[in-house]
Subunit: 139 residues, 4 copies
Amino acid sequence: MIESTAERAITFGDLDPMGIVWHGNYIRFMELGREAFGRAHGLDSIRMYDQGYYTPIVRATIDHKAMLSYGDTVVVRAWIKPSPAAKIIFQYELTRKSDHVVVATAETVQVFLDRDRKLLLDAPDFYRAWQEEHQLVAR
Amino acid sequence: MIESTAERAITFGDLDPMGIVWHGNYIRFMELGREAFGRAHGLDSIRMYDQGYYTPIVRATIDHKAMLSYGDTVVVRAWIKPSPAAKIIFQYELTRKSDHVVVATAETVQVFLDRDRKLLLDAPDFYRAWQEEHQLVAR
Amino acid sequence: MIESTAERAITFGDLDPMGIVWHGNYIRFMELGREAFGRAHGLDSIRMYDQGYYTPIVRATIDHKAMLSYGDTVVVRAWIKPSPAAKIIFQYELTRKSDHVVVATAETVQVFLDRDRKLLLDAPDFYRAWQEEHQLVAR
Amino acid sequence: MIESTAERAITFGDLDPMGIVWHGNYIRFMELGREAFGRAHGLDSIRMYDQGYYTPIVRATIDHKAMLSYGDTVVVRAWIKPSPAAKIIFQYELTRKSDHVVVATAETVQVFLDRDRKLLLDAPDFYRAWQEEHQLVAR
């Protein structure tokens, strides 16, 4: 299965008054992983837009398992869950670099809109081809 | 059922290259609603912390139904889902002020940690009392 | 002199580990004031863009005078400094609502780019007219 | 002169409706550079806090020279400007990795507060020693 990894050092501005990373920042970390995947495997948002598709996130779920503090680096692993639907489903595992503890798991679901912002009921050809090429077709 | 409402005008900085609000900003809008609820009904994060409890969010789910654009104002309605567990479950409905269209629904789950950051398996007395006072006890 | 005012309750996610608002968030508060001014006086970013101009911020300066904490509400006052140059110069005063203490003063400078992203050396006619109408012409 | 460098890939969420990085995000990029410096040279915020000092930013200035777009990586160079005052003055140069164009220059000024949040009129001994060790004493 193809996947990608991105990492980022935690900064002071990421922290909440308890000294741990504010939960709302994880959605930015997930984007780092998703875009690293897009760059590595030819599936980034801007490229899809240039091909005529806008792929907004319609659902995001984040499960927090442990905390990140100052001095930590977060490692974001991202991959695509095969699906026959007209959707791009990314899954994520965020770990603390120092001890490999999983700090969060997450999932985002994206749909395809055309230039007129109309929802596509079938995945566009380019995405079907991309899935086949990467052996990501759900059976 | 008690609930609270907060609203915020969409700003240029909220928008993504498609001219709609970037999905990662919704988690900030949810916080506006949750904190308006906390202020109105005596259940804000800092007050709970002062009573010895840290209440981190362990799960967040956001379902996007429609888009927000420049000129829109988002209205965030927040309420608590009754639960016998040692958890605070907030639910949210975000609407576009101009036409009352629901743009997203969401849920967050918070747990209770004590000062030593140990997870509480039972809800602390102050929260049980608060739930009873507000008739939010799940049966 | 025309000016506008916006306000926002401080949220948990705005705070840093010292329990005060992280400095990087002030630039968002300034935007709230600048856009309230734009809406009130017909000078918002999107309207200018629709008229063919993109007005990026080329300089921002923020002076922090006092701190904002949880429970505070920040009040942002914004106005335009008259200038004969092809620039929009906004000035800001941010105060704590409870005691009217000035927490920061700030300034942003915007230039005019045309659709081809070429810098305009003279302010466009619509902005000159707007300035005259609002008696904001520097002498 | 000692300095440090950090870099970050631009993400979709960094962009504004014009498809370039929203100006408010630069203050986060500056933090990446400042903290890389702190880690490399023993001067990070949390370490200073542990020694009894809180070092809030009291002034920030950012000059934008060029734009960052999707696909770009920003490189942040940060160094300290020697000063006899009880201040930490960081200067920054942000460049676009692909063509080394300077996209912004910036400066932040930090002061020293003690545990009671009282402003120090003289730099604390640890900072004087640090400056001497790194030959950063202004003459």
